[in-house]
Symmetry: C2
Subunit: 427 residues, 2 copies
């Protein structure tokens, strides 16, 4: 079947997955965890093929590390599945109950989104996390993983699908897309796919966003800032900035720009320059910064650059207001932090900065579903519509309004024969 | 200034509106309500100009009624504003609070979406409802109303804007677009406008959805169904169907198709035909239906038609499963109803039908923000992403994650020096 036909069948079958009990869905996750363990050697053998091919292509050690699926990573994904089983059912939650009139009761109840397409980078553990998050939340999923781990993906997918179906979930609950051409076909399935979650390079995510009518959840850029306020604890600031830049420089939540309050610049910048030098971080700064410490100078328009590397942009600002303006203008609405001991200034920053994560005295690298305690994440959203920030189970559900009456008609309310009571019912 | 420049300035100023207190926003609504009352004659005079022009153009009495802004409608919108003032603040609500580790606390807090563009039909009361909903929820709004009420719109907008600013809300909180060309300019403002809410004809909404990168909330079609189950109370069914079809036939939540369980067809269809004849509703049916009652016959592919008129499509189905399949295939995911006394069948229907509203024994016409007790609505969404069904204050907010630490860095958790506690804090 073509992608279009497959997606259409999945859409037709998706209510059947929505109607499964949490016991059934957890049972599927249980079987999947057991089967992954039992088939470890098959998975590792498939991964060895991918690793050999990647090594032959001269892939960097950094990337090889991401492609690798070893015992430690298997352990992690199995732990993740057990965490997911332990989380409460995201479906059937009543978030509003209201008596509109005698015998006429409105309830807002959570339900799956339906059919979700996820396109993700070559990371085998991501395939397991994404597919199990979708199953737990009752969503059918079309998965397209990076081609560099094609053998590992196939081995993992087959185990997951087989055991989901063995647990009684519908046959078309999961589908794997393996060829690159299928991405284009998937983007055209706007009648059957409810949501797309692309992960990967900025250019790739932007391409997806520009080439489909399906709603897209995710983020292209991750331009995160740290503003060092006049009342920042400078001893706290240095290791925190270094962590935010270097703990994983290629991550979307790594910091790119440090904004420093002008009143502390002459004291703080030399310490920052030293800490950066020690950590192998190159500093780029405005003319004003370059007048205080030795650094490469940069222009104003370069502050929209995501380095994904051990490089920091530095700029001086007058006050928290200028920091806020800079972040809202140059940032990507991902995660931004203020370092200060001043409650009022911090509150102003957290209220006015228009980002999914607004932090005080904590590294931007905390922006992550696992660290937030969501079990796992399908991605991080910088969209303001639907889900924002790390997207776990709650971001994978929507709701429907259920209204039950006893033959109630609107004409009676229009004519004044009856009136609405609008009494909320305790949840 | 051009629309682009205006929208850009609005975006820059939007955090200032987000930071206002609910007292300030309610104070603005209070001033607006008073000023609308005090300026009634000015508004009515402006409306008289619109009515004269419309009458000269030969507009139908039905449409004229919608354009009219009289004392009763003024009363309604002022009542609506007072209701809105009485609703709790949708901003600053904490929906998750979790200690990630000692001194590291995560909170998910509701906040405005930012800049919302609303394009709506020529109905002056809609302008008041939409602008006040946006102000209460802290959103800047660009409003483009139907040109047939241009004078009334201008009078209302000027009063609303002037009093919002007088109450201390930012100067650029509201903007009115008056020329049709500005719609195209608005659609191109994807960097500054966070959400578009188009209302009006199906073709118009579809045009908007197809011609912008801005997320769109709303609905094009409203193809609603009522399924009359074998265990339906037939005496209840007839007035309910007539209400759902005739109470306001041009509304999106009016019913278009009646699905009847085959086992009761010979008994129920003649009664339905009589009720329709009495109410002036024309019946169209499949060949099978036409074999039982006199009606125009129709093909399967015509079930995707929204009549917006006193016409009903009728079809027989084997059981609730066939009804569900038909609705998910031909419906527009707006509002669909089952008439039955069977709890299990009803539950199956409500779980499997993939619509914003799933009803039991109640008219589809109840799908409305006012009737749901939301105060008012900016529109009804058939999207599954973000807000679904009637969209009131809650659909106009998003959230941000606030994280406060004491210098916490991710490196300590990666190295095992510290571990996450993930303890939820009572809300």
């Amino acid at each position: 079947m073509s992608m279009k036909e497959n997606a259409h069948q999945m859409k037709i079958d998706s209510p059947a997955l929505a109607a499964t009990s949490v016991e059934q869905r957890n049972r599927a996750l249980e079987l999947i965890a057991q089967a992954l363990e039992a088939n470890a050697e098959v998975i590792f053998a498939a991964n060895a093929q991918d690793m050999d091919a990647a090594a032959a292509m001269g892939v960097t050690p950094q990337v090889l590390k991401r492609l690798k699926f070893n015992d430690a990573k298997l352990r992690d994904v199995i732990d993740g599945i057990h965490q997911l089983i332990g989380l409460p059912d995201p479906l059937g939650k009543i978030t509003l109950a209201r008596e509109l009139d005698e015998g006429l009761v409105l309830r807002r109840v959570s339900c799956p989104i339906g059919v979700i397409g996820v396109i993700f980078e070559a990371r085998p553990d991501a395939l397991v996390q994404i597919s199990t998050l979708c199953l737990k939340s009752g969503n059918c999923a079309i998965l397209k993983g990076g081609k560099e781990t094609a053998h590992t993906n196939r081995a993992l997918f087959d185990i997951i699908k087989e055991n989901a179906v063995a647990a009684g979930l519908p046959e078309s609950c999961l589908l794997q897309a393996e060829s690159h051409d299928e991405i284009g076909e998937l983007l055209a399935c706007d009648h059957d796919v409810d949501l797309l979650i692309p992960r990967g390079s900025n250019d790739f995510v932007r391409y997806i966003m520009d080439n489909t009518k399906i709603p897209v959840l995710g983020h292209a850029d991750g331009i995160c800032h740290i503003y060092v306020d006049a009342k920042a604890d400078q001893d706290m600031a240095l290791p925190l900035i270094i962590d935010a830049k270097t703990q994983y420089a290629a991550a979307c939540n790594a910091v790119e720009t440090i904004l420093v309050n002008r009143t502390i610049a002459s004291e703080f910048l030399p310490k920052l320059a030293q800490a950066c030098a020690d950590a192998g971080v190159k500093v780029r700064g405005t003319q004003e910064v370059a007048g205080i410490i030795a650094c490469e100078t940069m222009g104003e328009d370069e502050f929209a650059t995501e380095y994904l590397d051990l490089i920091l942009s530095v700029k001086l600002v007058e006050d928290v207001e200028e920091a806020i303006d800079h972040i809202n203008r140059f940032g990507s609405h991902h995660t931004d932090c203020i370092l200060t001991s001043d409650d009022a200034v911090s509150e102003r920053f957290m209220q006015m900065v228009d980002s999914a994560g607004v932090y005080r005295n904590a590294s931007t690298r905390f922006a992550d579903g696992f660290r937030y305690g969501f079990g796992a994440e399908v991605g991080i959203s910088t969209s303001k519509i639907h889900a924002r920030g790390p997207v776990g189970l709650e971001g994978l559900v929507t709701y429907k309004y259920r209204l039950t009456g006893e033959g109630h008609i609107v004409g009676d309310y229009a004519s004044g024969v009856r009136a609405f009571s609008h009494k909320d019912i305790e949840l």
